[in-house]
């Protein structure tokens, strides 16, 4: 019996949903919503089912599905999932139904839902592709729905932000495309035939040092824009601020992770020597990003912009962990990708709720909300603390692993980066204090507390935040084996050796 092609379905189902949604007449809005809901919930359920079926401790790619697509160019529909991509896929699958249910749209629901589902298909494809060409296809395709979501349903300067987002990312991927083609062409002799298969290229190709470094730079540039790494981050605050709430949530939670995931899967895996070589530069940029993001976030007057800049800082931590190349730091980086997705996604959801009620995101126009909406304030507090990295919540697990792992190989950078943790506490707590403490003035007096639906959604976020914080072992057990294999691959192909004093990545 042929196994159920779950990964293919994860990509195809949302795409089909998008087509169905756009085919239903616009006067049957209920059907449109129902179709979108069914597709996204089914996709989410499938991703969870995959998580359950994923064997704990497996290091290789599971559920692989491979079919020849464009044989002339050695391109195939090649999907697979391992510990590094597993939780990103689940995050994508679960987040979309939440966004579709939880975020209200004011106009044109039909195209909105169609774009959203198409975006989900693209994101799933990016995380699952094991073929460079296929990955690039999805990586680029994601731009189109995101562009229309920001441009069509965003706030005042949405067209500017959407265009900036599109051009920035496209510029990065332009170089990456040249890099991808060059990788496949140059690997042709070592592999034996032209192929874009990531695994074959990584295992068989033997790039000269200079070539490998050039190719790595081409890839890294594309991913650095996506992450975004300082100084390529300037599209992010605009895109985040102007995007509709759903767009911001997905942008922060999933889209940015395409960059860090790409660095792991393609940067380090394909070009281990160049990754080791580039570390000082990447560390430095990451640490600058951490401090810069934090300081700029502290200065913001717009709550959404504040969260956006905090993303720059958090993504810096993830990059630091990934490139520190120890098992703890890399596992921490992978977990932090998911954690940041959950906590920042939730923060954007909360900020969106504030905007819905008050039609402003300016910090100085909000005050004393804790008095009128205590439950809302409670949710905000938990999510914010998770973003700060309070022990017992999910943010701590990732950040701690990153810092302790990186300390061995990137000591002085870590010393500086740690101050970023303090700064995160500063800007978030300060913002919380200004928005929630004090006596509510007249405008804030009528701030409505959470409704049942909002409460249910936020509870789901909080449950994940607390569970991961208290008991991260199930996640680590699935992430760690893949990280270990990746590190072994790096050690086999370079002179780099991870420090021996590092014990097992603890659970």
């Amino acid at each position: 019996m042929i196994a159920f092609p779950i990964l293919t379905m994860l990509v195809v189902l949302p795409a089909l949903g998008a087509i169905v949604v756009s085919l239903i007449g616009r006067f049957h809005l209920e059907w449109v919503k129902l179709a979108a809901l069914i597709t996204s919930v089914t996709t989410g359920a499938m991703s969870v089912w995959m998580l359950v079926k994923f064997p704990s401790g497996a290091a290789g790619f599971e559920f692989v599905s491979k079919h020849s697509w464009i044989s002339q160019w050695g391109i195939s529909w090649h999907l697979g999932v391992d510990g590094i991509s597993l939780f990103l896929v689940v995050l994508t699958g679960v987040l979309f139904p939440i966004v579709i249910v939880g975020v209200k749209v004011l106009h044109d629901e039909k195209p909105y839902l169609a774009w959203l589902l198409l975006l989900e298909a693209g994101l799933m494809g990016s995380f699952l592709s094991l073929d460079l060409f296929l990955f690039f296809v999805f990586f680029e395709i994601v731009l189109v729905p995101m562009y229309f979501l920001i441009g069509g349903w965003g706030y005042d300067r949405r067209v500017y932000a959407a265009t900036k987002f599109f051009l920035y990312t496209m510029a990065g991927s332009a170089f990456m495309l040249v890099g991808i083609i060059a990788t496949a062409v140059l690997a042709r002799d070592d592999v034996g035939s032209l192929t874009f298969n990531v695994i074959e290229i990584a295992e068989k190709a033997n790039f000269s040092i200079a070539t490998g470094r050039w190719l790595f730079v081409a890839f890294a540039l594309g991913f650095a824009i996506k992450i975004p790494l300082f100084p390529l981050h300037t599209w992010l605050p605009d895109a985040h601020t102007e995007a509709p709430t759903a767009g911001s949530i997905i942008l922060a939670a999933v889209l940015l992770k395409m960059g860090t995931y790409g660095l792991l899967r393609f940067g380090i895996y394909l070009f281990p020597e160049a990754s080791v070589w580039a570390r000082p530069v990447i560390f430095t940029l990451a640490v600058i990003g951490i401090l810069y993001g934090a300081i700029v976030a502290a200065m913001q007057t717009d709550l959404k912009r504040l969260v956006a800049y905090s993303s720059v800082a958090h993504m810096g931590f993830i990059v630091l962990g990934i490139f520190a190349l120890t098992r703890q730091s890399m596992s921490g980086g992978v977990i932090q990708m998911v954690n940041h997705g959950v906590s920042t996604g939730a923060l954007f959801l909360l900020v969106g709720m504030i905007y819905e009620r008050r039609h402003t995101r300016q910090i100085d126009e909000l005050r004393g909300i804790q008095h009128v909406a205590p439950i809302f304030a409670g949710f905000f507090m938990v999510v914010m603390l998770s973003s700060i990295g309070l022990p017992g919540l999910n943010g701590f697990v990732g950040e701690f692993l990153i810092l302790i792992g990186s300390f061995q190989t990137a000591r002085w950078w870590v010393v500086v980066a740690t101050s970023g943790v303090v700064l995160a506490a500063l800007y978030l707590l300060w913002a919380y204090q200004r928005v929630f403490h004090g006596e509510p003035d007249e405008a804030n007096q009528s701030f409505r507390d959470v409704t049942l639906r909002e409460g249910a959604l936020l509870s789901a976020f909080v449950a994940v935040i607390v569970f991961t914080g208290v008991y991260p072992k199930p996640i680590l057990d699935r992430v760690d084996p893949s990280v270990k294999v990746l590190l072994e691959h790096v050690e086999q192909n370079t002179t780099y050796r991870q420090p021996h004093s590092v014990g097992e990545a603890s659970g």
Binding site: W69, I70, S71, Q72, W73, F133, F136, V137, F138, E140, I141, L143, V144, Y147, F148, G151, G152, R158, V159, T163, F166, L167, M170, A171, A174, F175, L177, V178, I181, A182, V185, R188
Partner: protein, 503 residues
């Protein structure tokens, strides 16, 4: 001595092998003579004849395509015309484009109330010229094709007599086109002077054996340079692109589509054939020139496209930058050390085919939007198209995304092909310049999309989509998407394009 010259013997002509040309000629005569001698035909019949003729010619080409598998590439009419996959692929592109252009022309002329056979007759004659260009194996024959194409196009560009811009476009095109023909002819003369033949195969052979007339290498190089200038004018490569924006903007929109598709296919395919077939032994001399032209065309074309406000002018500049992409393939093919010399030529021709369909569809939409009078639409006229005609806006969006090279459209396949050929031959500079150009040009397509989707409409006047245009645009959109998803068969078909017939 003179008395001993052999009597002139005409070459044997393989009539069936040139049947696509004959079919087009028959169609042109039917339209021009039949149209002149009979009263006005019912609405749409002229276009139908033009379309059917192109279809028959395309079908005959398809049969010949199958014959090549058995007979291999050969030359016809005494070595003057080549019968190879390259020529047939380009011929099919021309025939297919002709069908689409005829469809959008029909509605265009009906809107103006000027349905007449002359435009279609000229279309067919220009297509004959184009097909001769892409299959010419002799510089003189090539020149004949070039003039047949160009003269028809000058008239077509000026064919909307009610608009001064159209006449201006025709005159500008005529004068500059005349210059470029002169350059080209001078180049032919110099090459003939140094090599002693105008036959591409003979030229290649003589140069390979270094049997040039001693001391005439400079003559040859100047000749090659002048040929290149002539072609560069026709393809509108920077810095010979000055005429293109004015002509594209002024000419009636369907004619602009014709210029951007068939005009480009003919000139670029001829350029590739002449340089790859006749001058392979001088590759090291002309490759740098092609490279400089390509980089300039890519970057200048897309940068200037971004600052325009007129949609037709924007698309004219974007069409210039697309020509740069096609040159990237030629440059790649000119590397002797390249692993696979086929890829560059195949990539360029595939690009031409895919781009032709995209650009005709795009201009088809532009033609609908500009409505009666065919005023060149500014960006503002596109505003709110998504609210007036959502499907039309969606179609144009697909076509624009394809021009920007977004995956899952044929535009991405085309770009991927040329970039791959460039990287395979080690032309990283060109590959990066091409991608930089793609990013800059993306801004332009985004501007049009912003107008369509994100701005309120300025007019509520209903936008009618006539059947023929709807079919043409719908086909272009579906083709663009289908080729983006399953390009394998086209890549297979384009695999052996570089096996030129030269003897």
């Amino acid at each position: 001595m003179i008395a001993e010259t052999l009597p002139f013997v005409g070459p044997a002509i393989q009539w069936f092998d040139i049947s696509p040309l004959l079919a087009l000629l028959a169609g042109a005569l039917l339209l021009l003579l039949g149209g002149a001698l009979t009263p006005q035909w019912p609405r749409g019949w002229y276009a139908a004849v033009s379309c059917a003729t192109a279809g028959v010619a395309g079908f005959l080409t398809y049969i010949l395509w199958g014959d090549i598998a058995n007979g291999g590439p050969t030359t016809l009419v005494g070595g003057a015309v080549a019968l190879d996959r390259f020529a047939l692929f380009a011929t099919m592109t021309i025939c297919g484009s002709l069908m689409l252009v005829s469809l959008i022309t029909n509605d265009h002329l009906n809107r103006q109330g000027e349905d007449a056979p002359e435009v279609y007759g000229l279309y067919l004659i220009a297509a004959i010229g184009g097909i001769i260009m892409v299959s010419a194996n002799d510089l003189i024959v090539l020149f004949l094709g070039l003039e047949t194409l160009s003269l028809s196009l000058y008239v077509l560009a000026a064919s909307n007599r009610r608009r001064a811009e159209s006449e201006e476009a025709g005159l500008k095109y005529f004068i500059l086109g005349g210059f470029s023909s002169a350059f080209f002819l001078y180049g032919v003369a110099l090459v003939f002077g140094s090599v002693g033949s105008t036959n591409l195969g003979t030229i290649a052979e003589v140069l390979a054996n270094e049997q040039t007339i001693p001391g005439n290498d400079a003559l040859l190089l100047v000749g090659i340079a002048l040929l290149l200038v002539g072609f560069a004018f026709k393809v509108s490569l920077v810095p010979f692109q000055m005429w293109a924006p004015d002509v594209y903007q002024g000419a009636p929109t369907p004619v602009t589509a014709y210029l951007a598709s068939i005009g480009k296919v003919a000139a670029l395919a001829a350029l590739i054939r002449v340089f790859i077939v006749a001058f392979p032994s001088r590759m090291d001399d002309w490759r740098p020139a092609i490279m400089v032209l390509a980089v300039l065309t890519l970057l200048v074309g897309s940068v200037l496209a971004v600052v325009q406000t007129n949609v037709k002018r924007m698309l004219a500049y974007s069409s210039i930058s697309h020509a740069g992409f096609m040159l990237v393939g030629l440059e790649a093919a000119s590397h002797r050390n390249s692993l696979d010399p086929n890829t560059g030529v195949s990539a360029s021709l595939t690009y031409l085919l895919l781009y032709s369909v995209i650009v005709i569809g795009t201009f088809g939409v532009v033609s609908l939007v500009s409505g009666v009078g065919d005023s060149a639409p500014s960006l503002d006229d596109m505003r709110g198209l998504s609210q007036r005609r959502p499907l039309l806006a969606l179609g144009l969006t697909v076509l624009l995304l394809a021009q920007a090279g977004v995956p899952l459209t044929s535009g991405f396949v085309a770009k991927f092909g040329v970039i791959q050929s460039a990287v395979t031959s080690g032309s990283y500079v060109l590959a990066i310049a091409a991608m930089a150009s793609a990013v800059i040009a993306a801004f332009l397509y985004l501007r049009i999309m912003v107008s369509m989707w994100l701005s309120a409409p300025v007019t509520d006047s209903p936008l009618r989509i006539p059947l023929a245009s709807g079919v043409a645009i719908g086909f272009a959109v579906l083709f663009t998407l289908a080729l983006g998803l399953v390009p394998g068969w086209l890549l297979d078909a384009a695999r052996d394009l570089a096996q030129f017939a030269s003897r």
